[in-house]
């Protein structure tokens, strides 16, 4: 087993990329991601990581460069946040449809305007529908583990998709926690490098990224959808193998006290920890509160989510992001609500948008949410006038 060391989320992610023995790193500094690139630069500078390190002039070029490197058969890594991710947005779609197994860390941060460097999930959610497999870690250990699992998944011959691992800016990226580090030999035993995708090779020339007319474009996009759907199986396998190799168990979603819960709080990222602690407290006072942590966001694990929510009386979805003007307001809410609707689950499913721009998500906020949710027990969706609320905002 690896050794336990105190690490920030950013360093945990950098250690994971090092353990995965990445061949090419291209990244551009942005708060709160910066420490990842600094640490990787240090690894390369000290000869601890044998990789080409590209000091690119933008995030757009960072992702473009790793697309080029991945297409040449290299194992690649990049990381970013917020505006950087938005600058990558164009290339994210291209990376996924070109089926390149790129791995990226996202230290989640609010997007401008106003400019704000603190945590929420606006960046992660804006990139959620770009054809990437998307994970959200709850702490530094998970961020470390999921980056290593990401290579196992991305490079699987049945997947060939890029993977993003989100972890909350500052709350996870800058908090130092004990992290069980996976060493290179162990990481490569679990996620060996195997280049089974098409590569740019003068001995076997291929054309990549060609123009597709209406006669062909559609098929490419459908293949992407199917690849994401079928990646679910590989993800499950990769998690099972991860447990065998490293002892830590991961699932697509985690239920805490969901079996008998009246109200289930659905959370992602660091809010999950707060929510579990809150649930434990209020259960002592007789409130049957459960928590569902969504670790895998794309492909959305509908079946796993349903297992946890189908017996609940109210599902309260907490979003740290906002889709202004949409019918669903919070992005996580839309997936949960549609999942429930598809199975005819007619219980109140409500949305609480909170913690934007780094505003702390406190237990008192969760208390407001749970109290509101309790008031809806016994109702059906059609009985509710407003499906969302802002919590912790100035009136």
């Amino acid at each position: 087993m690896g050794k336990l060391v105190p690490l920030s989320g950013n360093y945990a992610v950098a250690y994971a990329a090092k353990a995965a023995d990445v061949d090419v790193v291209a990244a551009y500094p942005i708060t709160p991601q910066t420490a990842v690139v600094e640490k990787l630069a240090e690894f390369v500078a000290n000869g601890e990581l044998h990789a080409e390190f590209l000091h690119v002039e933008s995030e757009h070029s960072a992702l473009s460069a790793v697309v080029g490197a991945s297409a040449t058969g290299a194992r690649v890594f990049t990381a970013t946040s917020a505006q950087g991710l938005l600058l990558m947005y164009e290339i994210m779609h291209i990376a996924s449809t070109m089926r390149l197994p790129i791995v990226m860390g996202i230290a989640t941060r609010a997007i401008s305007a106003p400019i704000n460097i603190w945590c929420d999930h606006s960046d992660f959610m804006a990139a959620a529908d770009t054809g990437w497999i998307m994970f959200m870690a709850v702490n530094a250990q998970e961020a470390h583990d999921l980056v290593i699992a990401a290579y196992r998944i991305a490079e699987d011959p049945d997947v060939h998709l890029p993977v993003a691992v989100g972890y909350d800016g500052f709350i996870v990226s800058h908090t130092i926690e004990p992290v069980n580090i996976i060493e290179k030999e162990e990481a490569l035993r679990y996620a060996p490098k195997r280049v089974t995708w098409f590569t740019l090779n003068p001995e076997k020339p291929v054309t990549m990224g060609s123009l597709a007319s209406p006669e062909w474009y559609y098929e490419f996009r459908v293949q992407l959808q199917k690849a994401l759907e079928s990646s679910a199986k590989v993800i499950t396998t990769a998690f099972r193998e991860f447990k065998q190799h490293f002892g830590r168990e991961y699932r697509e979603v985690d239920g805490f006290y969901t079996d008998d819960a009246d109200v289930i709080l659905v959370t992602m990222g660091s809010t999950t920890g707060t929510a579990i602690s809150y649930a434990e407290e209020v259960r002592k006072a007789g409130l049957k509160v459960g928590v569902l942590n969504v670790r895998l966001f794309r492909p959305f694990p509908e079946r796993e989510v349903l297992k946890h929510i189908e017996e609940a009386k109210v599902v309260a979805v907490i979003d740290r992001a906002l889709n202004p003007g949409s019918s669903f307001v919070g992005p996580l809410y839309s997936d949960i609500a549609v999942t429930a609707f598809k199975k005819g689950l007619d219980i109140p499913i409500t949305n609480y948008v909170t913690g934007l721009g780094g505003r702390a998500v406190l237990k008192s906020h969760l208390d407001t949410i749970v109290k509101h949710a309790y008031g809806l027990i016994g109702k059906r969706m059609r009985d509710i006038d407003t499906h969302y609320a802002f919590v912790g905002v100035r009136e």
């Binding site: 080409e52 473009s64 080029g68 290339i91 291929v206 060609s210 123009l211 597709a212």
Partner: protein
């Protein structure tokens, strides 16, 4: 300089026929000879543009070398990544190509002097072993002839139309070579396929030199410049003969004109065969002539001799 002769042009075609480039397309000539000059041991990263869309319509391709297109503004960044991957994988013993593989980025003028300038600057400054080829047809031809930073003075385009207020493009062409040169790269050159041996010699040199090299290729466009398809090479030749285009190279800071023009033709000879300049008045032609005269004076100063001569009186 040309030790290269017509007879030494390789017979093998690495750009397959059947592509969809226009009849008389200058870029098609650039690509065909570029591939012949560079050979098979290359990997091409291509920016979005005319050549990209006309040579790779799925499920067909005209490229007999490994080729990738990602987006419009990032050919230089993609090429940087490819070069870094080759370097890394070679060091680790994963790749063992017998011959050196040169990475080649290709972009049009829009993809190079405008939207791709930042990525190009990054690539040059980081010193990647990449040859960047700009095929310059002086406007956004792929989207239908809109002006770019490389559009010359007074040229008609669909976004600089000649009307009662506007007289076509009113700004001068961006000095991309000056920008590239400022990065201190080992080799920069202009090429014109009407001078084919010069074209080959420079592309070979740009490939052999280690580090970032840059080729600015003159690339006439039949629909964009509004001329008959059979005139492409003639116009290319006129560009050099009038001094509008100068074939030169800058090798490790040393400037050298490779196609001397002892006596120049008036710019009018070049302008009058192209519909994009059809609206020009006598005064406007004179303005262009004056600016070209100044450019030539500057070139001669750099060369330290009169390599481009005066305009020959009719």
């Amino acid at each position: 300089m040309s030790t290269f002769t017509i007879a030494s042009i390789p017979r093998e075609e690495l750009l397959a026929p059947g592509h969809r480039m226009c009849q008389g397309c200058g870029a098609a000539i650039v690509m065909r000879h570029l591939l012949k000059a560079l050979g098979k041991n290359i990997i091409v990263a291509h920016a979005t543009g005319c050549v990209e869309v006309t040579t790779t319509l799925y499920p067909e391709t005209a490229w007999r070398v490994p080729w990738i297109h990602v987006a419009f503004e990032n050919a230089a960044a993609v090429a940087s990544g490819i070069e870094a991957a080759l370097k890394s994988l070679k060091k680790k013993g994963v790749l063992s190509y017998e011959k050196r593989v040169k990475v080649v980025a290709i972009g049009g003028d829009g993809g190079t002097v405008d939207i791709g300038l930042q990525a190009l600057s990054g690539m040059l400054e980081r010193g990647h072993d990449v040859l960047y080829v700009l095929y310059d047809n002086e406007a956004y031809m792929n989207t239908g002839i809109q002006r770019s930073g490389a559009t010359p003075l007074y040229a008609w385009t669909t976004t600089t139309p000649a009307g009662s207020v506007w007289r076509g493009e009113w700004r001068r062409k961006k000095d991309i070579i000056g920008i590239v040169k400022a990065h201190g790269v080992p080799y920069v050159a202009t090429v014109n396929f009407a001078y084919v041996t010069d074209f080959y010699a420079k592309l070979r040199k740009a490939t052999e030199i280690e580090g970032p090299t840059f080729i600015h290729a003159y690339s006439p466009c039949v629909p964009g410049w509004r001329y008959e398809p059979h005139l492409t090479v003639k116009i290319a030749k006129l560009a050099v003969q009038t001094g509008i285009w100068v074939n030169y190279e800058i090798e490790k800071g040393t400037f050298r004109v490779t196609t001397p023009v002892p006596k120049r033709l008036p710019v009018e000879e070049y302008l009058k065969v192209q519909g994009r300049f059809a609206h020009l008045t006598k005064e406007e032609v004179e303005t262009i002539q004056k600016l070209v005269d100044e450019d030539v004076e500057y070139i001669n100063k750099l060369a330290g001799a009169t390599v481009i001569g005066p305009v020959e009186k009719k």
